[in-house]
């Protein structure tokens, strides 16, 4: 039986890279005694796949992994409880859902992600009061540009690209955790971006472009990026990105609700 597990990753765990998170879950499953189905071959490995790697330094409220278990009588509540008991306090389970046997794995269906971008507490002094008070307005203006051209770097080449269409949302929002006496910023940026195997827009790239738009220097160390959700597209067409303005429009559903 296939299951989809939504998990969060915060605190010091943001320094643990994607491959190590995989190893972490493999070992956690073994400790929980929930048996994961093994692949064939001389050195069998657990059948487990992640929706999308999260870069070192980023946190998440909702990343996903799909896993095939040996025992198909287990309830999602049971799995949640047993596996959560093996978590380390900074990586936690959020939700477990059952998948049909023919469900596509999350890696192949993820098509958009939500991110929150905060100024880190120790970097607040680098930013003016106006930066925060004008954040919503500036975010709107940023998105109103005709084009948003960025330089997308790959291992092989650099190319210019207009990513405006692939930014589904970009706005300033109030930081709910903020109070006047703490060191968190009063507001932050929320963005929903195209993601996945066809085209992947990184939040860092959008931030860099936004800073350029504001004519302020960009330093990736100034911001904490937190992924909040990952989506599949109900209207997905293989090898194609559906946007809000394309011929076939995207219809986004959080991965946990998509079967």
């Amino acid at each position: 039986m296939k299951y989809r597990i939504k998990f969060s990753k915060h605190g010091s765990m943001k320094f643990i890279g994607h491959l190590d998170v995989m190893r972490y879950f493999q070992k956690a499953f073994r400790r929980s005694k929930i048996e994961v189905k093994l692949s064939e071959g001389f050195s069998p490995h657990q059948i487990m796949s992640f929706a999308s790697p999260l870069g070192i330094g980023l946190t998440t409220d909702g990343d996903y992994l799909d896993v095939t278990l040996v025992d198909d009588t287990l309830t999602t509540d049971y799995i949640f409880e047993k596996l959560q008991a093996e978590m380390n306090g900074e990586i936690n389970l959020v939700h477990v859902s059952e998948l049909s046997d023919d469900a596509k794995n999350s890696m192949s269906i993820v098509c958009a992600c939500d991110y929150e971008v905060f100024v880190k507490p120790d970097k607040l002094s680098k930013f003016s009061k106006e930066y925060f008070s004008n954040l919503s307005e500036n975010a709107e203006k940023f998105l109103e540009q005709e084009t948003i051209v960025v330089t997308k770097k790959t291992k092989k080449s650099e190319k210019e690209m207009d990513i405006k269409e692939y930014i589904y949302e970009f706005r300033g929002v109030e930081n709910k955790a903020h109070s006047s006496d703490d060191s968190t910023p009063p507001n932050l940026l929320f963005m929903r971006l195209t993601s996945g195997s066809v085209l992947n827009i990184k939040p860092e790239l959008v931030m860099e472009s936004f800073c350029k738009f504001l004519s302020i220097p960009y330093d990736f160390l100034d911001y904490q990026i937190n992924r909040t959700e990952m989506y599949a597209d109900k209207n997905a067409v293989k090898g194609q990105v559906n946007t809000l303005t394309s011929e076939i429009k995207c219809d986004l559903v959080p991965l946990e609700d998509f079967n």
Binding site: G11, S12, M13, I16, D20, K120, L221
Partner: protein
Amino acid sequence: MQNRKLALSDDILLSVEKPARYIGNEINMVKKNPKDVDIRYCMCFPDVYEIGMSHLGIQILYEMFNQRDDIYCERVYSPWPDLDKIMREQNIPLFALESQDPIKDFDFLGITLQYEMCYTNVLQVIDLAQIPLKACDRGMDDPFVMGGGPCSYNPEPIADFFDIFYIGEGETVFYDLMDKYKEWKNSGKSREEFLFMASQIEGLYVPLFYDAEYNEDGTLKSFKPNREGVPETIVKQVVTNLTDTFYPRKPLVPYIKVTQDRVVLEIQRGCIRGCRFCQAGYLYRPTRPRKLETLKEIAESMIDSTGHEEITLSSLSSSDYKDLGDLVYWLIDKYNKAGVNVALPSLRIDAFSLDVMSKVQDIRKSSLTFAPEAGTQRMRNVINKGLTEDDILNGAIEAFKGGWDRVKLYFMLGLPYETYDDVEGIAILADKVARAFYDTVPKEKRHGKVSIVASSSIFVPKPFTPFQWARMNSKEEAREKRDFLRGKFAEQLNKKSLKYNCHDAFTSELEGVLARGDRKLNDVILEVYKNGAIFDAWTDFFEYDKWMAAFEKYNIDMNFYIDRERPEDELFPWDFIDVGVSKKYLLKEYQTARNEVVTPNCREKCMGCGMAKFKCEDSVCFGA
């Protein structure tokens, strides 16, 4: 959610390689409130995290200490050079992984000394912790710096930097020391008074209380306590019943891949063989096997608590563990189907080991390992390595029949009484193994050529071995032998199937100096460190010239330590330690070596080495 406090800022952690080395919070990490304990102990392996986390000894002591409610034992490893630089620039004190608190606020910093080339890393750790480098400069607010592990059996080259050395196995007198410390802590007594209390515990060596005097030729004249009540001899501490001693059930599980990323099951301690070059073989006598049922139970609990996908067995010579077959088949039956791999230690190649290897390894990908150590039978008799050419060839032939076609052979160059015939013997033996392959496996069954990889390291004489008197080859001699051997490999019939690798002679030379060094070397090591040397064990970072400059500055001749056959009556810097095996016995063995005579192993016959006096129950001394 409240985030864990980290000692390093995001900016630093995101700018260094593998930040996971510095954040702690591994699975099975012990969490205590430092305010609730009386003693804070920081255990250190002075090398990079991935190496240090693979060390079983620290895992044992970590869990043993933390069993006590009044102690919080934490860990630290050497910061990699990238972070080292930042910590110096920004004056960040070295911190423990668990609490992320500065180590200078701890009661103890305990450093394990596994190889000589870590000595500059020892200074790095003490220095970054902002603790005075020399024990004599430390004050009431500084932690006590302790050393232990194999290199502490000749602690003299680094004696200045340690308050206390623990000579022996960690499971024995640590608790006693901790109790004494609690007594002392709030008594208002001086630092020196605590060191005196420590010196009264058997096995603990306080360098401050001893003076060394030298003869004009540089050899040791006398080594004596400089105050009343301090023992003249330090007796090594030995676990007398290994089955009942402490073993960790919940080892730490790192996030990043480390060298030993698996459950390690120590099946026995000590070795019956008595190979004359092997320090561990003498230091860890007598052979003490753990009971099979206990091992099964420990293996189960460690696999359950870690979720590791591999388990391996640890000991100096696993083939000599009597219940090895039962244990290995039990592990395979229980775990292989569950996807937990059984990684075999190096075993004597015979029908049994080939059978288990074929069960747990992909034959096409795995290779056979033999450690003949020397190329001719004459030389193997000198070093007391029981392995014969027939053992090797018959083992290899059986393996070739079973489908293996890759063989690794390990040798040493520069052994005492070595001749060029012995050196050439390495190439000849490698070729014989290749011939055995072509004679055994018909053409149609071969997958290309057989691959024989021979590696040689340079022999370094170590304290407490029969070769402690022996002259070590200079790096020029070693290089000559290596080049000669390389030429001989090229002359062999099956040269295309043979490959020869040789270790770096520079490092071995220095190891030779440090291994049998004396107190005079403290200045050299300090000087090298102050000139920026760290991570000497890493070829990329090793700076030979810095060492040469330091020896020159202090007018110390390296050849005094290596290029010299020591007289039989010479007083050695490590002679004040009683490891159980007597100097008389070692000397007798050295003479036996010269006569090319093999000494029976401990199970065949007791040769009276001296270990029996420890009265270890369940040890080979009493028939186990």
